[in-house]
């Protein structure tokens, strides 16, 4: 598996759990965390296997709430 080149940071409390980032992540590493409810009452998006992130920023591109910051190494 390719070496991880990216990292994403979600500002969890701003997330509305819309799932758009989930649907566009090429590496399918984003999911909605059904076990948490954030301040706004939504299940926020989380990344489990951060090492798979390629830093493509697709997620950020689609996030309507500017929740995501993307870094690349």
């Amino acid at each position: 598996m390719a070496k991880a080149r990216g990292r994403v940071i979600f500002e969890e409390d701003l997330c509305k759990g819309c799932g758009l980032c989930v649907s566009v992540c090429p590496t399918k590493i984003i999911s909605l965390d059904n076990s948490t409810i954030n301040a706004k009452g939504y299940h926020p998006a989380i990344v489990i296997e951060m090492d798979k992130c390629i830093g493509c920023a697709n997620c950020a591109m689609m996030c309507p709430d500017v929740v995501i910051t993307v870094e690349r190494y």
Binding site: L20, S23, M62, V66, I68
Partner: protein, 248 residues
């Protein structure tokens, strides 16, 4: 390590009131980024419409002026004629721009006002709860078209970009969407070009963005993107309808 994406200074830190997955938010971000990247944030004056974007004045990180329903182009005209050195844009929905505000958008184009308009076409009245817009598709349901829009009763949806492109003073007319990261990038490019037109003093520019309304379409955010692609794009073709000519 490099930050390849972070929140633009073109937006404030206020969280939007938009429904989850509503693409209004994406377009806000693109506008904020364009303002920042073109260096006009400090001299920008935005005009917020009446529609779901009515609170846009809280989100764009520049001076903002709220307008009456449909009248944003007139308000923008008033501002721009007083302050030609400022950057003036409107952000309007399809009910606002294509219905009640038809005269205002046509005449801002007709006079060639040097302002830029972001036109959010979501084929519905979002804010008031899903009534039919002039852009609602044939067969699409709305609270005021409970059986779906019927051509015999309401005509075919109006294509504002095509209509505005016939007007000489409209120098930049392009239709984009934000259903995929690729489309988002193209949309941003169009918005930046449109804004540049104003900076260069060339005339009126408008970017129509096909946008979703998951809430009133009764679909999930993701379903909404697909519905848009499958239904709206075939009727509202994406692309450039007008660019400034050499001599403009």
């Amino acid at each position: 390590m490099t930050v390849v994406f972070e929140k633009t200074k073109g937006l404030t830190d206020v969280q939007t009131h938009y429904c989850p997955g509503c693409t209004h938010g994406i377009v806000h971000r693109l506008v904020g980024e364009a303002l920042e990247e073109l260096g006009v944030l400090d001299k920008a004056i935005g005009v917020a419409p009446v529609g779901c974007a009515v609170l846009a004045y809280n989100y764009f990180n520049c001076d903002m002026h709220e307008a009456a329903h449909g009248r944003a182009p007139a308000v923008a005209t008033g501002i721009k004629r007083v302050r030609p050195e400022n950057f003036v844009f409107t952000y309007q929905g399809d009910g606002d721009l294509a219905s009640i505000g038809t005269a205002e958008i046509v005449h801002v184009a007709h006079r060639g006002e040097k302002i830029s308009t972001i036109f959010i076409n979501n084929a519905i009245y979002g804010m008031t709860g899903g009534q039919m817009a002039p852009t609602t598709l044939i067969g699409q349901k709305a609270t005021t078209a409970p059986l779906g829009r019927d051509e015999a009763h309401s005509g075919k949806p109006i294509k504002m970009s095509e209509l505005l492109a016939t007007i000489d003073g409209a120098k930049f007319v392009e239709r984009v969407t934000v259903t995929t990261p690729g489309h988002v990038r193209k949309a941003k490019k169009a918005i930046k070009e449109c804004f540049k037109l104003q900076i260069e003093g060339k005339g009126f520019g408008i970017v129509e963005v096909l946008s979703t309304c998951p809430t009133n379409w009764g679909l999930t955010p993701e379903e909404s993107l697909r519905w848009l692609e499958e239904n709206m794009i075939p009727y509202y073709p994406l692309g450039s309808f007008k660019r400034p000519k050499e001599d403009d």
